[in-house]
């Protein structure tokens, strides 16, 4: 297990390197630059700015310097936020994004697994159809459509919850963005759980359990849930990625000060360092999370052994 973990960690290095290189050179290849303004800057001022951000060095040297910075945990100065460094921005934005994303994943797991299991138990009955139709709707409505609908209903008409803002992560501010972000995932997870649960419920060991006279609840919780969760666990990797990309839109709509917004604004403003910072940071996060998912898989499925 330890050797496997080490090997996985080492193999993450080239992946990250490729990610950083591609992002770095693609960002620089984009036409226009951070100092392109409607009123072009006087040449002396542009020269000063370029020198201050060391944009005049050859590209490979800038790349090498950037890599060196990352190793020291320094993502460089932001072009757009002139009073902050990228490391500071990520440090303030990430706790917010983490809270939003983790809550969404947790909510999606709890509701998705519950709804999926119920649907599996009531296969082809009304409850099943309702769960499946609602989840199909959840999957097909993109979150940039769902979010404004939620705001319209719960913030403007019912006036139960705020329409935007973060309020330092107060529960009432979190409800709508978390739901909007979790909805498509709830739907996916419910469908996955239902499918695998139906399969598990038909297997021999469950039939044996039934024959022993165990209650449905006991069978479900003690025997069926663990194997039925395998596909859900392996979906958690992609789900994290989806929640991260989804948060870019959700943070914008709800005015949540997370790092997803930095990515959009950074790309539009050609804030090279800010975009790179978010890409590298999220890249590391997704790699780490996929690794954790694989470990969890080994724990859930005795057939999986890593060596």
């Amino acid at each position: 297990m330890l050797r496997y973990s080490l090997r996985r960690l080492v193999s993450a290095i080239p992946t990250l390197f490729v990610l950083i290189a591609v992002a770095f050179f693609m960002m620089r290849a984009a036409p226009g630059g951070p100092f392109d303004l409607e009123r072009s800057l006087p040449p002396e001022i542009e020269a000063n700015l370029r020198a201050a951000y060391r944009l005049d060095d050859p590209l490979w040297l800038q790349f090498a310097r950037y890599l060196g910075g990352i190793l020291r945990g320094d993502f460089g100065p932001s072009f757009q936020y002139r009073d902050f460094t990228v490391t500071e921005l990520i440090a303030t934005g990430f706790p917010v994004s983490l809270r939003l994303g983790a809550s969404a994943i947790l909510l999606a797991l709890v509701i998705g697994v519950t709804a999926g299991s119920i649907a599996a138990l009531k296969q082809n009955r009304v409850t099943d159809h309702v769960v499946m139709t609602v989840s199909m709707t959840g999957i097909s409505i993109p979150n940039f459509v769902m979010a404004p609908i939620l705001i319209l209903v719960f913030a403007i008409h019912l006036r139960w919850l705020p329409a935007g803002g973060w309020g330092d992560g107060a529960l009432r501010n979190m409800v709508l963005p978390v739901i909007a972000l979790a909805l498509p995932q709830i739907a996916y997870i419910a469908r996955l759980t239902r499918g695998s649960m139906i399969e598990v419920l038909r297997s021999n060991f469950i039939r044996t359990a039934k024959a022993q006279g165990l209650s449905t609840t006991a069978i479900l919780l003690k025997h069926a849930l663990k194997p039925a969760l395998l596909p859900v666990v392996s979906y958690l990797g992609p789900a994290t990625a989806a929640v991260i990309t989804g948060s870019v839109v959700i943070e914008q709509i709800f005015g949540v000060p997370g790092i997803g917004r930095f990515f959009v604004q950074g790309a539009l403003n050609r804030d090279y360092t800010l975009v790179m910072g978010v890409v590298v940071f999220y890249g590391m996060l997704i790699i780490a999370f996929n690794f954790l998912v694989d470990l969890a898989y080994a724990w859930l499925d005795p057939k999986v052994k890593y060596s």
Partner: protein, 542 residues
């Protein structure tokens, strides 16, 4: 399935009930109509996130909005936009218009209690033009003696023509008489900063806890991508007449979300409105919509540096073939004025401005003239002009480009293709003059015709249409040296007539600003610069 149908129906019913927007519980302002709310807190939608709170590095509107409440310049602006004394309580201008002497208030204080001195302004302005500050708006101070040479790095900042005669007397010497100079002193590039805190904290002097400001408010919180919170500065010289205690400037780059937060009662003022919702707003909350003329021109630049648009006759034909009223009445439709001149007629120091001679014609007459000029330039149905219109990706710009392309086709037979590019790509294409026709807009930096006139100068950084007319440049230089305001206006009008004859840019309309303001916000007045200060506002009981 019935349950599902029920759920869907009730959801739709809730959506249809469009009458439950936030509404005050009692009459606004209580019985008297002027009663103030107990909590004087204002929430303002401020557009995109401010990039910096350093007044000398600020470049965008969101930063300036906050800056006006955080800092106070020598001169300030009243709610209607008129210039009023700021830190300077009075001033004198020398005969030749080149030396300004400001007398600072004895009771002007920084937010830590230190007095605001003339030396602080000297320090601030030197810092602003110092190339090391990396300011992109230092050109605002260009009229001051030696400023251009300092910005270019040829002279040290100490050579700037600004001197503290004593703690309360500041002298500024200009290169040329500049009648709009007082207006420039409301711009953040001219603000003082608190020297000890800048020296102590360096680039981090703008952080909450570090920032010392001299305006009606001081910085309490700055959560990037969320809000900037200001609280009243107890040391402000006019603190007694400041009513609002706390002001939140929220980052609201998503305009649709901003309107929703306004409708939910979370915002007292918005930065703008989503244009697509204008009809709905007019129908449902017309009393909260504030539309006002704005000091800006929307135009099409024509690349005069290469054929076919190097021909003035052809450029005039293209201009005359456009029915501007269709654009302002049916496409933008927010009260914009059709433009028959480059400089907005409402601008100060310009006596009403000029118009192109065809302004008084009917559109049919203009089109007849357009066809004549088009034929004169050598084009016909068999040999049509082919053009490319470049615009930055945005629905409003696309709709205008489609309309103009079809007007050109119907009136002249021009075959125009549309190209859209993302903002930074578009700027790059434009700056490199790889264009034929490009959409653009210009918002004046100060309330004087020169901020528009200078754009067409052959050396201007905004002259992406490549206009190069020595006579025009000469007239601008003449205007810069003229001390008599009326004579100066005449010279600038002569220059603008020249520009309209040559038509390197086609003015289309003059901008308006549109925002939502709750009825309990008192003291807000729309003005042509779209400037406001929180200290002039009050929250009525609601």
């Amino acid at each position: 399935m019935k349950k599902l149908a029920f759920l869907t129906c009730s959801l739709l019913a809730m959506l249809a009930a469009c009458s439950s927007d936030y509404a005050p519980s009692g009459p606004i302002g209580g019985e008297s109509g002027t009663e103030l709310a107990e909590r004087q807190v204002i929430h303002i939608g401020n557009g995109t996130d401010p990039q910096t709170l350093d007044p000398h590095r600020a470049q965008g509107v969101p930063e300036s909005n906050i800056g006006r409440s955080l800092f106070e310049g020598l001169v300030a602006e009243a709610p209607n936009g008129d210039l009023i004394p700021g830190v300077a309580e009075s001033w004198e201008i020398s005969e030749d218009g080149k030396t300004y002497t400001f007398h600072l208030r004895a009771n002007a204080r920084w937010s830590n209690g230190d007095p605001v001195t003339a030396g602080d302004f000297v320090y601030g302005m030197r810092r602003s033009v110092d190339p090391k500050t990396l300011s992109v708006y230092s050109f605002i101070l260009a009229p001051i003696e030696n400023a251009n040479a300092i910005i270019a790095g040829d002279l040290p900042p100490e050579e700037l023509g600004v001197a503290a005669i004593d703690d309360r007397t500041l002298e500024i010497r200009l290169e040329n008489p500049t009648p709009y100079f007082l207006g420039l002193l409301t711009h953040s590039a001219s603000y003082a900063v608190h020297p000890p805190s800048v020296e102590a904290h360096g680039d981090a002097f703008t952080r909450p806890g570090n920032l010392v400001s001299n305006g009606a408010y001081q910085l309490a919180e700055w959560v990037v991508q969320s809000h900037v919170k200001l609280v009243k500065n107890p040391y402000y010289w006019d603190a007694d007449s400041v009513t609002i205690e706390e002001a939140y400037f929220h980052a609201t780059e998503d305009v649709a979300a901003e309107l929703k937060r306004f409708r939910a009662g979370e915002l007292d003022m918005t930065n703008t409105i989503p244009k697509s919702q204008l009809g709905w707003i007019r129908e449902n909350m017309p009393d909260r919509l504030v539309i006002a003329p704005y000091l800006g021109s929307y135009y099409y630049g024509l690349n005069t540096t290469k054929p076919p648009l190097d021909s003035p006759a052809l450029r005039r034909a293209l201009s005359l073939a456009i029915d501007r009223d269709i654009i302002t009445k049916q496409i933008t439709a927010s009260g914009e004025l059709s433009a028959y001149s480059w400089i907005p007629p409402t601008i100060a120091n310009y006596g009403g401005g000029v118009e192109m001679p065809e302004a008084s014609w009917t559109q049919a007459e203009r089109e007849a003239e357009a066809r004549r000029l088009y034929a004169q330039a050598g084009y016909s149905a068999e040999n049509p002009l082919r053009l490319e219109i470049l615009y930055n990706t945005h629905d409003d710009h696309r709709r205008i480009a489609v309309a103009i392309a079809s007007m050109w086709r119907n009136v002249l037979g021009v075959e125009a293709t549309l190209v859209n590019q993302e903002w930074k790509v578009y700027l790059d294409t434009r700056n490199q003059k790889k264009t034929q026709v490009f959409r653009a807009g210009w918002i004046g930096d100060y309330n004087d015709p020169y901020t528009f006139a200078e754009i067409a100068h052959s050396k201007s950084e905004l002259n992406d249409f490549g206009y190069d007319n020595p006579e025009y440049d000469r007239l601008l230089a003449l205007a810069a040296a003229e001390t008599d305001l009326e004579k100066r206006a005449e010279i600038l009008k002569q220059a603008e007539r020249r520009l309209l004859d040559d038509m390197p840019l086609i003015p289309l309309y003059f901008y308006v600003t549109a925002k939502m303001v709750q009825p309990w916000v008192q003291g807000y007045e729309a003005n042509i610069m779209d400037h406001f200060r929180v200290q002039d506002l009050k929250i009525l009981k609601h």
